[in-house]
C-alpha cells in the first residue's frame, strides 16, 4: 500500500513538455434531483454534467469555458471529490481516483488543490493568514513551529505578499491580496494540479493581470498544471494551451487554443466569440437567434434550440465528438461535415 503511494508520487514528478496527461476525465456525469410531490420522491433529474471528457497535460493549462450554470464548477468539485460523481472515471497521474475510498485517497488529496472565485468567502474570516496557511503546511508534514512559520513566510513571498501580513485577518485585505493568500494556501501542500475556478473574475481590472502573471510564474517555477475555468474568452485565449467549450453539461468543442480561436467550428463557440466585445472596433453583432421553444427530444443536441444551423439530424440522437483537426474535436455533425 505504502510502496504504491510512494511509487505514484515518484512517477508523478511532472516534466513539462512531455505530454503525459496528469488528469484524465472520462464520461463524467452528475445529476441533481429536483424534489417534488407528496412524499418528496425524486421526480426529475437536472443533468448538470452529462458525459464530460477532459485531458490535462502535465505542466499545461486547460481552459474550460462556458456560461454560468453550464456545469463548469461542478466538474471541478467532482475532480476534487467535494461532490460525488454519478458515473465516469477520473484518473490522476494514471490512477483511477474516484473509486478510491476517502482513506485511500488521502495521500493523493494534497496533489490537487483549488483556487476559488470569490476572494471574500474563500478565506475563513476568523483565522489569520498564517493560521489559514498553517493548516496546509501541517498537512504537508512540516512539524516544528519555527519551520512552519518559515514555510508560511516563504509561501507568502512566493505569491508576492510581504511576510509581515501573516498575522492579519482577511477582512483587512483587498480582493487581489486575498486571492494571493488563497493561492498560498493551495500551494502549502505542494500540489501538482490546481483547479482555478474563475480566479480573476471577481477582481478589479488593474489587479487581474497581477494574478494572471502570478499563476503563470508559479506554473513555470513549480511545474504546475492548471484547469482554468472561466467565462472570459480573452483571458482564456491568453493563458490556456488547450480549451474546452462547455454548454449545458457537455463539452461541445475541444481544441488547442490557437485552433479554437482561429478556426472555431461549433455554432455555440462562434456565438461566444462573436459576443465577446473586442477592444479595437465596434463589434459587428450577429442577429440574435430567438430561442425556439419546442421541447427537445431526449438525447438531442442541447444547443439545437438556439442554433442557426440546426437541421433534423441534430434532433435525432446523441451527437458524438468528431475530429476536425489535430486535437480539435467538435460535437456537431453539420459543423464537422464542413471540413475544408
Amino acid at each position: 500500500m505504502k510502496s504504491e503511494a510512494e511509487r505514484t508520487s515518484l512517477q508523478g514528478v511532472p516534466q513539462p513538455g512531455q505530454n503525459v496527461p496528469i488528469l484524465q476525465v472520462r464520461d463524467l456525469k452528475k445529476s441533481f434531483p429536483v424534489k417534488r410531490g407528496l412524499m418528496q420522491r425524486t421526480r426529475q433529474l437536472v443533468r448538470a454534467v452529462d458525459g464530460v471528457d477532459l485531458d490535462i497535460a502535465a505542466g499545461r493549462t486547460l481552459g474550460l469555458v462556458g456560461e454560468s450554470g453550464c456545469g463548469k464548477s461542478t466538474v471541478a468539485r467532482m475532480i476534487l471529490r467535494l461532490l460525488k460523481s454519478d458515473s465516469g472515471t477520473i484518473r490522476f497521474e494514471g490512477r483511477v481516483i474516484d473509486a478510491l475510498s476517502e482513506k485511500q485517497f488521502k495521500p493523493l488529496r494534497r496533489s490537487i488543490q483549488m483556487i476559488f472565485q470569490d476572494p471574500y468567502s474563500s478565506l475563513n474570516p476568523r483565522m489569520t493568514v498564517a493560521q489559514s496557511i498553517a493548516e496546509g503546511v501541517r498537512i504537508a508534514g512540516i512539524a516544528g513551529r519555527r519551520q512552519q512559520r518559515e514555510r508560511i513566510e516563504e509561501l507568502l513571498t512566493m505569491v508576492g505578499m510581504p511576510p509581515a501580513v501573516a498575522d492579519r485577518y482577511p477582512h483587512e485585505f483587498s480582493g487581489g491580496q486575498r486571492q494571493r493568500v488563497g493561492i498560498a494556501r493551495a500551494l502549502s501542500v505542494a500540489p501538482r494540479l490546481i483547479l482555478c475556478d474563475e480566479p480573476i473574475s471577481a477582481l478589479d481590472v488593474s489587479i487581474q493581470a497581477q494574478i494572471i502573471n502570478l499563476l503563470k510564474d508559479l506554473q513555470d517555477r513549480l511545474g504546475l498544471s492548471y484547469l482554468f475555468i472561466s467565462h472570459d474568452l480573452h483571458v482564456v485565449s491568453y493563458i490556456c494551451d488547450n480549451v474546452c467549450v462547455m454548454y449545458r453539461g457537455r463539452i461541445v468543442e475541444a481544441a488547442p487554443a490557437d485552433a479554437l480561436f482561429d478556426d472555431p467550428r461549433h455554432p455555440y463557440t462562434h456565438k461566444l466569440l462573436a459576443s465577446a466585445p473586442s477592444l479595437l472596433a465596434k463589434a459587428e453583432q450577429p442577429p440574435p437567434v430567438e430561442a425556439r421553444r419546442d421541447p427537445l427530444p431526449p438525447g438531442a443536441c442541447t444547443y439545437a434550440q438556439q442554433c442557426p444551423e440546426m437541421d433534423s439530424a441534430c434532433l435525432d440522437g446523441p451527437t458524438a465528438m468528431h475530429q476536425v483537426g489535430p486535437d480539435h474535436w467538435v460535437r456537431c455533425p453539420p459543423a464537422a461535415g464542413k471540413n475544408p
Binding site: M114, F116, P125, S132, I139
Partner: protein, 386 residues
C-alpha cells in the same frame, strides 16, 4: 485618540491600515454603541453585586443575614434606622440602616435582594447555558450532517441502547446486559454489511436502508417542542417536580433550546457551502476540525446574541415562576418572591414591590440592550460599512 490620526498612518511593512483583530473591531464598535455599552456596564455591575451578595449572605453567620426575622421592625421604609433598644445586637443591620426597608417579617430587604441577585444570575446563565449547549449540538448536527440518512439499523442500535440504559436505571442488570448485547450485535452486523457492499441505497438490505435524515429528525423534534406553550410547559414541569433552584434552571434550559438549534442549523447550512470550507476539505482536513475550527467560530456571533437575550428571558421567567409561587422554595429570597410577598402590602409598603420590580427591569433591560447592540455590531453589513 482620534480616528483620523489612527487611520492616516498605514503600516510600513504591509502597506495596510493598522492591524485590528476581529475582537478589537467588535470592542471598538461596542464602545460606539452607547445603549449596548451601558447594557454591558450594568451587566458587569450586576455580576459583581451578585458575587458580593453570595459572599455576604451565605454561610452560617453571614455579614448580611437575609433570614433574620425582626418582628418588631416590620414594614419599615427604606433608609430607616433600626431601633437599638428592642433588637438584640446580633440582629442589627451591619450597615446601620435598612437601605431598602424591611418586609412584613422585619427582614432586611437589601440583604434579601442581594441574595436574590445570585439566584437571578445563576438561573439566567445556567438555563441559557443548557439551552445553548443543546442548541449548538443539535443545530450543528442538523446543519452539518443533515443530509445523512439514519438507517433502520441505527435506530435499532439506539433503541436497544436506550432500553439498556433504562433497565440499568431501574435495577434490572440482566435485562440491561441483554439489551446492550443486542445493540452491539446489530451494530457489528451493520458495519460488516457496509464494508462488504457499497451500492445504491435502493439495493441495500432493509436494515441499512435510509429511513429519515438527521436533519428531518432533529427539526421534527424542534417542531414538537414548539407545540408546547413555553411558560405553561415550564410551569407544569416545575409544579410537578420538587421545588428547587436546580430544577428551575434545568427546566427552563430544557424548554428553550429550539431557537438556538434553528439558527445554528441555518448558520451551519450556509457556512458549509462557503468556499473556505471547501478549501479546508480540499486540503484534507478532518470533519471535526472543520466543524470546530472553521464553522463553529463563525457561527458563534448569533448564538452569543440570542444567549444574551435568552438570559433576559430566563430571568423574567424565573421571576414569573417565583411570583406564582413555583420558584425557589422559601426562605431563600428571590426577586420574584420578594415582589410576590410584597404585593399584599402594595399600598402600605410599596418598596417591597418597587425594589425588586425596578431591579429586575434594569437588569433585564441591560441584557436586552446589550444583546440587541451585539446583534447590530455582529451584522456583517454594518461592519463592512465601517
Amino acid at each position: 485618540m482620534t480616528a483620523d490620526t489612527r487611520n492616516s498612518a498605514l503600516d510600513a511593512a504591509t502597506g495596510l491600515p493598522p492591524a485590528r483583530t476581529p475582537w478589537e473591531e467588535t470592542w471598538r464598535l461596542l464602545r460606539k454603541n452607547r445603549l449596548a455599552f451601558s447594557g454591558l456596564l450594568i451587566f458587569v455591575i450586576f455580576f459583581l453585586v451578585a458575587v458580593a451578595g453570595i459572599l455576604l449572605t451565605a454561610g452560617s453567620r453571614p455579614v448580611l443575614d437575609p433570614a433574620q426575622v425582626r418582628l418588631q421592625e416590620k414594614l419599615l421604609p427604606p433608609l430607616s434606622l433600626p431601633n437599638h433598644e428592642v433588637l438584640p445586637p446580633e440582629a442589627l443591620p451591619p450597615l446601620g440602616r435598612y437601605l431598602l426597608g424591611t418586609d412584613d417579617l422585619g427582614r432586611d430587604v437589601f440583604a434579601r435582594m442581594l441574595q436574590g441577585a445570585w439566584v437571578s444570575l445563576t438561573v439566567g446563565f445556567v438555563a441559557v447555558g443548557i439551552a445553548v449547549i443543546i442548541g449548538i449540538i443539535l443545530g450543528g448536527l442538523a446543519g452539518y450532517y443533515g443530509d445523512q440518512e439514519l438507517e433502520v439499523g441505527h435506530l435499532l442500535v439506539w433503541t436497544t441502547g436506550v432500553i439498556a440504559a433504562f433497565l440499568l436505571l431501574t435495577n434490572r442488570p440482566a435485562g440491561a446486559a441483554a439489551a446492550a448485547a443486542a445493540s452491539a450485535v446489530i451494530w457489528i452486523v451493520m458495519r460488516r454489511e457496509r464494508s462488504l457492499y457499497e451500492g445504491p441505497p435502493s439495493r441495500r438490505r432493509w436494515f441499512t436502508r435510509g429511513l429519515v435524515s438527521v436533519d428531518t429528525l432533529i427539526m421534527r423534534a424542534v417542531d414538537v417542542m414548539l407545540c408546547f406553550p413555553s411558560f405553561f410547559l415550564i410551569l407544569t414541569v416545575v409544579a410537578l417536580l420538587p421545588a428547587s433552584l436546580y430544577n428551575i434552571m434545568v427546566v427552563i434550559g430544557l424548554t428553550s433550546w429550539m431557537g438556538t438549534t434553528r439558527f445554528v442549523r441555518a448558520e451551519f447550512l450556509s457556512l458549509r457551502e462557503q468556499d473556505f470550507v471547501a478549501a479546508a476539505r480540499a486540503l484534507g482536513i478532518g470533519d471535526m476540525r472543520i466543524i470546530f475550527r472553521h464553522i463553529m467560530p463563525n457561527a458563534m456571533a448569533p448564538v452569543l446574541v440570542s444567549a444574551t437575550l435568552g438570559i433576559a428571558t430566563a430571568i423574567l421567567t424565573e421571576a414569573g415562576l417565583s411570583f406564582l409561587g413555583f420558584g425557589v422554595p422559601p426562605p431563600h429570597a428571590t426577586w420574584g418572591n420578594i415582589l410576590s410577598d410584597g404585593k399584599q402590602f402594595i399600598f402600605d409598603a410599596p418598596w417591597l414591590t418597587f425594589a425588586p420590580g425596578i431591579v429586575i427591569l434594569i437588569v433585564v433591560l441591560a441584557f436586552n440592550l446589550f444583546g440587541e447592540g451585539l446583534r447590530d455590531i455582529m451584522n456583517p453589513k454594518l461592519r463592512e460599512r465601517n
